[in-house]
Amino acid sequence: MTRILPKNKLDDCIAAWQKAGYSVLAPVQRHDMSSFDEVQKASDMALDLILTERTIKDHFFPQTEPLIKYKISKHDIDSETMTPPDKKRIFFGVRPCDASGLAIDDPLFGWDYKDDYWFRRRNNSVIVTIACAEADDFCMCTSVKLSPDSTKGADVMLRPLASGNGWQIEAVSERGTALLDTVSPLLQESSDQAAPVPQVAEKFDVEKVMEWLADPANFESQFWKDISMRCIGCGSCTFLCPTCHCFDIQDEGDTYQGIRRKNWDSCSFALFTMHTSGHNPRNAQSTRWRQRIMHKFNYYQGKFGVNSCSGCGRCTRQCPVDMGITETLQAITNLPR
């Protein structure tokens, strides 16, 4: 017997959480795009999607974040530090790859200097993951040693029932346990079986890849030029990535007042590393693509002991020129040793 959340109790569940002061965010399909957004009822949710086009990262590290509000007058400047809204949130129906993405980014935002903007949002959020029932050609979680039912980054884990009538439900963190306590009357004990987890084939050998990347001799390999020749430097892959975290800080406003903001930026952009002098350490698209791969599968691993990729496959799925991490890592796997 396991605890289950019957599908027909989901509306009551949302209502109970809302009553407890939470906003509930779930996958939705709005204005020709799928993303996580606030929902009021189960029918607002698009839970059948394999994966939303946008990641939940957007709600922890938004594309533009106000940092400081300032007002300038002659010989005086008023400034006020802005903080993210302190609203309790539940993310319902997160895919394991997106939940893992949050866990992967935690050490980056936390090492030494703690990024409060990230952690305030992390601390007021509960992640309810739903194991995948389906995968597509681009999914690659197993290649990065995760799985379609990984609990990494999750507080509550749901597994779809084979009958389609609900989910097996299990708290996998203290925060998750506390959340389930708020809806325990709605949960039932049942012997219903969970649907099988989809098979996601391993597309590359990540160990072999990491070994190749770690060899300094390969840093200036012709490989990088060849593999990235068609990259147009659009940066979609970085903006849709659940783990990419690069940003810019910009002041915006008029002469007398404005806001200093933290905005998404991308290693794919030529201006990203350009010095004022005009010197650019990464002055070709191939060096920028190399940076992206090295950062994810070598540097990040060295600093935080984990690769900065959760295998969602959005980079390839969305790429206008059909590139992506999978192709590059496959090619590295198959290089003659």
């Binding site: 400081i68 400047i77 200097y113 940003f247 350009m274 002098s277 350490p281 600093k303």
Partner: protein, 278 residues
């Protein structure tokens, strides 16, 4: 919060060279000053800013032995530095830091010091120079080799004069060929060449080298010829930065985050980095 800077009041501004200015900044709030005093060590950098324009990264040019104020020297080139250059005494600017690592000057004690700088890279070197000169008794011979493109481009001219007058400092000044004025009595030639001619002994000597990449490259060759080992040569790297605290993802050279693990490195450490990423 993490990205909130300290407000700083401009005490004075000094024109150093064409397009180069030094701002002397004092703390507006006591607690910020206490924080700075407790944390600043020579070699560290900060993000200097003006609300409405943004922030720009450069070193703290004042030494760790003088923490009542912050001096910064910068060339006017982009949006932020152009506005900073227009700041006047009394204006409020911002400072975020001090960030990064430092020159381990206590390890330099009892040794000869050789400072080599080119152009606008004297400021980071100057921070170490004064940190050592202010406790002169701890170090042996001090040699400063400084060169700029032209006489006008030499920064801290009043301090160069001071160092020249001191008998416990050996100052070697040079300008690039064609950059001399009729009354110029010091060297004419590129820093690596002049350094080789000055031929300081590598024996028990630490070299601190700052300059544009091309100067660093050839000066390292000259130092090697003189018998310096890469472990005894220190330098400071500057890359484009936005956060200064290891998050924004742009200053790394290979796996090394300049803002966190640097900006101070030995030449040996720099040589171990992927050169194509520098």
């Amino acid at each position: 919060m993490i990205y909130t800077p300290f407000p700083m009041r401009v005490v004075s501004k000094r024109a150093e060279a064409p397009g180069v200015n030094t701002l002397k900044l004092e703390f507006v709030r006591q607690e910020d000053h206490e924080f700075f005093k407790a944390n600043y060590q020579t070699g560290m950098f900060g993000l200097y800013g003006i609300y409405g324009e943004g922030e720009s990264t450069f070193c703290v040019a004042s030494p760790e032995t003088r923490k009542d104020y912050i001096e910064c020297t910068f060339r006017q080139s982009g949006r932020v530095t152009s506005t900073l250059a227009n700041a006047d005494a009394g204006d409020i600017v911002t400072f975020r830091g001090p960030y990064g690592n430092r020159f381990p000057i206590e390890q330099f004690e009892g040794k000869n010091l050789l400072f080599i700088a080119g152009g606008i890279a004297l400021p980071p070197t100057r921070s170490v120079i004064w940190s050592c000169l202010d406790q002169r008794e701890k170090y042996k011979d001090v040699t400063i080799v400084y060169g700029a493109r032209t006489v006008a481009d030499l920064v801290y001219k009043h301090e160069l004069e001071e160092w020249k007058q001191r008998d416990d400092v050996n100052l070697v000044l040079t300008v690039d060929p064609g950059g001399e004025t009729p009354d110029w009595t010091d060297h004419v030639g590129f820093v690596p060449t002049v350094l080789e001619q000055a031929a300081p002994s590598p024996e028990n000597t630490i070299a601190v080298l700052c300059g544009p990449p091309i100067m660093i490259k050839f000066t390292l060759i000259a130092l090697e010829k003189l018998g310096f080992t890469a472990e005894n040569v220190y330098t400071t790297l500057e890359n484009r930065m936005k956060c200064g605290v290891g998050k924004c993802g742009r200053c790394n050279v290979g796996s090394v985050y300049i803002c966190k693990e640097g900006p101070v490195f030995t030449a040996a450490e720099v040589q171990a980095m992927p050169q194509a990423d520098l």
